[in-house]
Amino acid sequence: MPESHPPQDQAEGLQAALKRSAPDHAPQISPYLELVNQILADVASSYDADISTLYRVSRDRTRLGLEAVYDSRGKVELEGEPYKLEWPSLDHDQRMGHGVTCWVAEHGEPLFMPNLAHLRRHPAYGGCGAWDGKLFRAAGVDDPATGFGCFYAVPLRTGKGPPRDTVIGVFKIERRRHKKVFDEHERKAFDLAATSISRALQKYLSTDTTLRRVLSEAAHVLRGRLSDSRSVLEMSLLMLDQPTPDVAYVRSNLPRAESLLKGASRRIERVLEAYRGPQFPTDFRLKEIVEAAIEAGFANPQRCDTSWETVPDATIQLTSVQRYDLETILLNLLRNADEHSGTRVPVRLHIRSAPDLQTTEFRIVDHGGGIRREVVERARAAAASGTEEEALLVVRGSGTGLRRVFHFAKEYQWEVVHDCPADGGTTFRVTVPNETGLRQ
């Protein structure tokens, strides 16, 4: 007789199951965003600036949205419609009233407004919206005591190119009317703060982009492997459904279906691990990275002859996603080497580092026919010319991924050197700068 449960038990059981299925630890908040918020808060309180605001350019670069606002007491919760960015030709920008903050982003230039009268004369000034009403209390920007005093807005840039390509946000500092206007020294201090915010924001965006790429790859792998394994099982079922079931075929197919699913499972586990791990430089044990790459790269780990020239329990500082990418580089190069070496000669992996060295070096050597120089250079050129969007399109299949190796190397400024001597064999040397050095 089927066992029955009262509804209360079912609800508790569900809650317990949900609790069990929850991740051990949620993804950590990026320390880069924490740093940005800290700078905003410090500026608002330390410089007696009253209000400091961060605006961010959207991913599609069409809008400038309010990211965070601080006054001298702390964070202010505000909501508002983002500005629409049009990135006009700066020589012919005749638009009026589209917003001074928007103007700063589009022109990529700082803007200082010493008083309300100046502000209202600026062609981009579009009136005081609901945000200003909340920031300057009920009396509004015209109040002689608490109304608008002055502001200084600085574009946050990633480089010296056109604003359309380089502006990622705007940092704006405002002061109420009863205080003096920002002097030159204060504005220089705000420029410095903007530089720090810009750097932290770039780091955050870079990590965010990497995570999106990693998750996109996971979805791609999962979809392909599931489709293939479903198809293999469908063929097996059809063969079992014959008047004379073809058991031998089904037996040969089951390991293939299992292999497809195991492969997908391994990849997804690795992706989740990268996503859940710390997104700021953390000590990782070199041995764990190397062992994980060997395990994923070889059916028989004995195929890899590993030698160490490091201190015991050497560690390297990486973000969790960088660790994942370093492992991917090693995995791809080991697979390549395995494919090009003979069946009897093991692939050699040598890891070299020492406390006085600023880098960790991985040397992968095979003694087979070697990968042709033009193949390697083609992969390197493709990675060098590729955009971030193309990197998202590039996926790792069941083969090896030289292009991906070079893409990561470019992204993190790691060095990958290839040597293919005339007498055969291939050597890849991967060098990872190690800011903090290896630790015992």
């Binding site: 979809r223 392909g224 489709s227 198809s231 073809d246 197919n253 494919e339 083609r378 590039v394 299949g397």
Partner: protein
């Protein structure tokens, strides 16, 4: 023998299984895993195959990253190759793509790509998502082989 089929897919677990299935269905089937192997098989033995089932995203060569439109690009290259020789083999008129990329993804890539990719796209007789059912895939093969026989 009811037909000769070439399967080009870098997922060898699937392609081996599918070739085994096809041989039990009385087809003659072979598999390749890269773009270079695909070109080599068709250029050296152009009349040995009737239908091509190709994964659109494969590595060009072993040791390289898979390329999202490798399948159709190589089709285009094969068309150019046989155009120079004045005679295209039947397999180039009987191409089935089974791809993780949808047709709309390919349209985006095609806009930025070369003449060979465009030519290859024109040669595709049937386009399936990777999770196509076996029934639909086998129906497409039967239809293309039937078409080939009628032409003969």
């Amino acid at each position: 023998m009811t037909g000769r089929i070439l399967v080009a897919d870098d997922s060898t677990e699937w392609s081996k299984s599918f070739c085994g299935f096809l041989s039990r269905m009385k087809y003659q089937a072979e598999s390749v895993a890269t773009g270079a192997e695909l070109r080599d098989a068709i250029t050296t033995r152009p009349d040995d195959y009737d239908v091509l089932i190709v994964d659109n995203s494969m590595p060009e060569e072993h040791g390289e990253e898979e390329i999202p439109y490798c399948g159709v690009r190589n089709l285009g290259r094969l068309v150019s190759h046989f155009w120079d020789q004045g005679k295209a083999p039947p397999i180039l008129a009987h191409v089935i793509v089974r791809s993780i990329y949808s047709k709309s993804d390919l349209d985006v890539l095609r806009q930025q790509d070369d003449a060979e990719t465009k030519e290859g796209c024109e040669r595709v007789a049937k386009w399936f998502d990777r999770n196509v059912t076996l029934d639909d895939l086998m129906s497409a093969i039967t239809e293309l082989i039937g078409d080939m026989r009628r032409r003969r």
